[in-house]
Subunit: 253 residues, 2 copies
Amino acid sequence: MQRYFMLKAISEVDEQAIAIDGEIFHHMSRVMRMKVEQQAYLVFDEEVVVKAEVTEILDDHLLMKVVEHIHQSTELPVDVTLFCGLPKGDKLELITQKSTELGAHHIVGFPSKTSIVKWNDKKRLQKQERLEKIAREAAEQSHRSISPDVLLLADINEMYNMLAHYDHVLVAFEEAAKEGEHAQLVQTFKEIQPGEKIAFIFGPEGGITPKEITQFESRGAKVCALGPRILRTETAPFYALSALSYHLELQGQ
Amino acid sequence: MQRYFMLKAISEVDEQAIAIDGEIFHHMSRVMRMKVEQQAYLVFDEEVVVKAEVTEILDDHLLMKVVEHIHQSTELPVDVTLFCGLPKGDKLELITQKSTELGAHHIVGFPSKTSIVKWNDKKRLQKQERLEKIAREAAEQSHRSISPDVLLLADINEMYNMLAHYDHVLVAFEEAAKEGEHAQLVQTFKEIQPGEKIAFIFGPEGGITPKEITQFESRGAKVCALGPRILRTETAPFYALSALSYHLELQGQ
């Protein structure tokens, strides 16, 4: 069943007559060709998910009523931010889509020393908007109750300042994989408590520089390997998020 | 350092004067512009990996000598086959590349009832060849010592017959995720012994039909969920392989 992010609180609507207009109305009436009595999931702020039914279709909007509040959560029990060194081409699109399916809450792109892309402010904000749209579509499709936000930084120093706000910061480092490091990821995962904030840092294709690693470490980051194989910049986040889900959502239960 | 799959046994070469010609010679001399004394990893059959050095460059081939045998393994301790319901577009390319990085050994495409693509034999074999090339490049880049083979089946019945050859068969099923199933993946992973053969089955976009599930189950397959979120057909293998690596390669040590 289709899922829509309402981008407002449920307290802002009348649960017996929710008016749907704009883009969502267009999608429901034109793309999905929904009729009266057909249902969809509506996702409101604060992870409120309801099953709602169409009661009336008008020219430029339609009305739905709530038939059920859904309480099963599809969200990771921790708040996860990915910091990705800006990669080439459309890899950030792939990272955003897949990481949303795999449970990330925030995606931050940062210009690493080895990043090749250069965007002016206008281009950067356009790209950010496009990525947020990709995240919202992936969140709807994967039955998330939170649509991840995307932030593209113009300067790595902004990122250094952000790192203080996390309970755990992990940096995926290729050299750690080559040296056979295999304890840090498990050790950190074992320390994680529900509700904590976790940050993962991934370099672009050219990798993270030793200077950047030092900056991260001085802010509490731990270097880890994601298994013994060398993963591409866009593949590493998939491993980290899948392992986190396996550890917290499947194994803990 | 660059890595090349030699596609022969090390016993077939003289370790003090390995002659390199053809495609690999072209890549070393033209693309990488390697000179005498420069090094690369050469990967031979049976997971034999050596570091070798260029000793002489000639017109149509070059010579290398082995300087070190590498004993650190980058392979999962079990043999993993992915069975993927043939998806649309170039998703099989993405699955092949990423699953190779994440450690798969064999990738098998099968026509599920809901698969939309239809290939004649010629097209199917061309696609298979192309996917094997993508796998080899990803295996080189991710420091594998095995390059996965790719097989595209013309008929799902061939797949049913293959399932008898595995110690464990898991089917990722969207309905299991929706129903909150979360025990089977961990339970199977805990039963796995080194050297065993594992198969994962993933449906195409339209999902696996109940009839297909019954066929899989009658051959010993267990239905499992990959966390509570609904993953796209190309994302599910990333989760399964990452979780397997986390369980066997990081957590067990």
